[in-house]
């Protein structure tokens, strides 16, 4: 479980989808890293992502870790700018997703601001989830 200060330091990524862009090779990096995973350059500048992407794969989580409420849908999302990230899908009915053997694959998504979890101290952790377009 991440501590309160760790969450606070990650506010920029959690709230706004601000990553980095490599000034040497142009790769968009999210979440943040110190070096470019493609060319190892350290010349990176802040870059705001659009928050739009496409679902690559998804799964229904039925046994949730502490602070989360099951069932919910977690997906691998290919962002418009390139990076692949893990995100929660909200605003869909689990029953509808279960019925479709394809799940939510290839569906277009965009970010929405939601409550992510309740930590052990009763602090609400907010951040970005994804909604179907």
């Amino acid at each position: 479980m991440l501590s309160v200060p760790v969450f606070w330091r990650m506010n920029k990524e959690k709230y706004k989808m601000i990553g980095k862009k490599c000034l040497d090779c142009g790769l968009v990096i999210f979440p943040n890293r110190k070096n470019c995973p493609s060319c190892d350059s350290q010349k990176l500048e802040e870059f705001g992502l659009s928050g739009k992407g496409k679902i690559y794969s998804d799964t229904i989580i039925r046994v949730a870790p502490d602070g989360f409420e099951a069932p919910y849908i977690t997906a691998l999302i290919k962002l418009e700018e390139g990076p692949m990230i893990v995100g929660e899908i909200t605003g869909v009915d689990i029953e509808d997703v279960e019925k479709n053997p394809q799940g939510l694959v290839d569906k277009e998504v965009s970010i929405t601001f939601r409550k992510i979890m309740l930590n052990e101290n009763g602090l609400r952790v907010y951040g970005l989830k994804f909604l179907l377009e």
């Binding site: 506010n11 920029k12 709230y15 706004k16 601000i18 500048e45 802040e46 705001g48 409420e69 909200t90 605003g91 009915d93 929405t112 601001f113 939601r114 409550k115 992510i116 309740l118 009763g122 609400r124 907010y126 989830k129």
Partner: protein, 356 residues
């Protein structure tokens, strides 16, 4: 003097709905007189991952999009709500951070001044935030300020309020070169306790029938009359009218008392489909009117907050609104995107909130 007023607006309504009939069924009540008495068919309920903070962020994002400004230019944020998620720990700091007011993009730790506050004055705290932001803008203290009214209202199970207490938010950016010029504002308040909630209590108490004449009608009509007198305007000068909506009947009766034609309330009267969104109510009504307002139209808005007070505003729509109306989700889009839930699911959604 430059014109000042609303430069961007946005609303948010969660997608869950419960029908009034379903609530009446659970309590063994005949639905028809309730439906007729309130004029409300269904109400919006926040999902388990939504609250005043998340709805404020969503409404605020649309307002920024329509204003077409960089959010770091916004230097004030006032959120009016009866359901700030924390008793101690502000909503405004989270919303400001999420909307990108605090640090300039590209300058991670560059601090700037942001005037912030979580406001409470029953259902009129959001409109009070608009008055504060407008005063900051007019005095050139800030370039832009955002006011939000948001609530995830709850009534005690089985209480009359349970039929209407809904969820939603609306956000407005105040600044120069507006889409809706704020021509003037007037407030009226007296010590009239018609509705209250004690510290640590989950649900409010109310004076039942007392909430009508000495409270809602007295304050809404006096504030509206005061505004018209202040600005030398009459009822015929207004094209659209928005009054606070504890239900669909009260605003129509207030209109009748003042002499406004009921048709002028139509665009702003969203309460039959989303319920009473408390601090969000008159502001979502205004957002709904702005979604389709035409340049040259004059709009009257009068909020009401128990305890009691009303803030009245006159807005003149400018040509700038046409461009902004093409952007972002409209209030009607949110109203139409809905999933009905039964009372059991409603309790589960609310129960999750209770556990916190």
């Amino acid at each position: 003097m430059d014109k000042t007023g609303i430069v961007g607006w946005g609303s948010y309504v969660p997608r869950f709905r419960i029908k009034i009939e379903e609530i009446a069924r659970i309590w063994g009540r005949d639905a028809l007189p309730i439906l007729e008495g309130l004029g409300v068919d269904e109400k919006a309920i926040a999902g388990s991952d939504e609250d005043t903070i998340t709805m404020s962020v969503e409404a605020g994002r649309t307002a920024i999009l329509r204003a077409g400004i960089n959010p770091v230019k916004i230097s004030a944020l006032f959120i009016g709500s009866e359901s700030h998620p924390y008793a101690v720990n502000p909503s405004s700091t989270v919303v400001s951070e999420a909307l990108g007011f605090s640090s300039a993009f590209g300058n991670t730790f560059k601090e700037k001044t942001i005037f912030m506050g979580d406001l409470e004055f029953a259902c009129k705290a959001g409109s009070a935030g608009m008055q504060i932001c407008h005063a900051f803008v007019k005095s050139n203290e800030i370039e832009y300020g955002m006011a939000i009214g948001a609530d995830t209202a709850q009534g005690k199970p089985g209480d009359a309020l349970e039929y209407t207490a809904g969820s939603g938010a609306a956000a407005f950016i105040l600044g120069k070169d507006p889409v809706a010029e704020l021509e003037g504002t007037y407030s009226f308040g007296t010590d009239t306790s018609d509705f209250w909630r004690n510290e640590g209590k989950k649900y409010p108490n109310h004076g039942a029938r007392f909430t009508g004449e000495p409270a809602y009608f007295k304050h809404v009509t006096n504030a509206t009359k005061g505004l018209m007198e202040k600005l030398s305007l009459g009822i015929d000068d207004f094209d659209k009218v928005v009054f606070h909506t504890p239900n669909a009947k009260f605003p129509l009766r207030a209109a009748k008392i003042l002499g406004f034609d009921a048709s002028k309330l139509k665009e702003g009267l969203v309460v039959p489909k989303i319920g009473n969104t408390y601090s969000g109510a008159s502001l979502i009504g205004l957002a709904s009117v702005l979604d389709s307002a035409k340049p040259g139209e004059r709009i009257l808005v009068t909020s009401y907050g128990s305890g009691s007070g009303s803030d009245s505003f006159s807005f003149m729509i400018t040509n700038k609104i046409l461009q902004a109306q093409k952007l972002g989700k409209k209030t009607i889009d949110y109203i139409n995107n809905k999933k009905y839930v039964d009372y059991g699911t409603y309790v589960k959604l609310r129960g999750k909130l209770l556990r916190e």
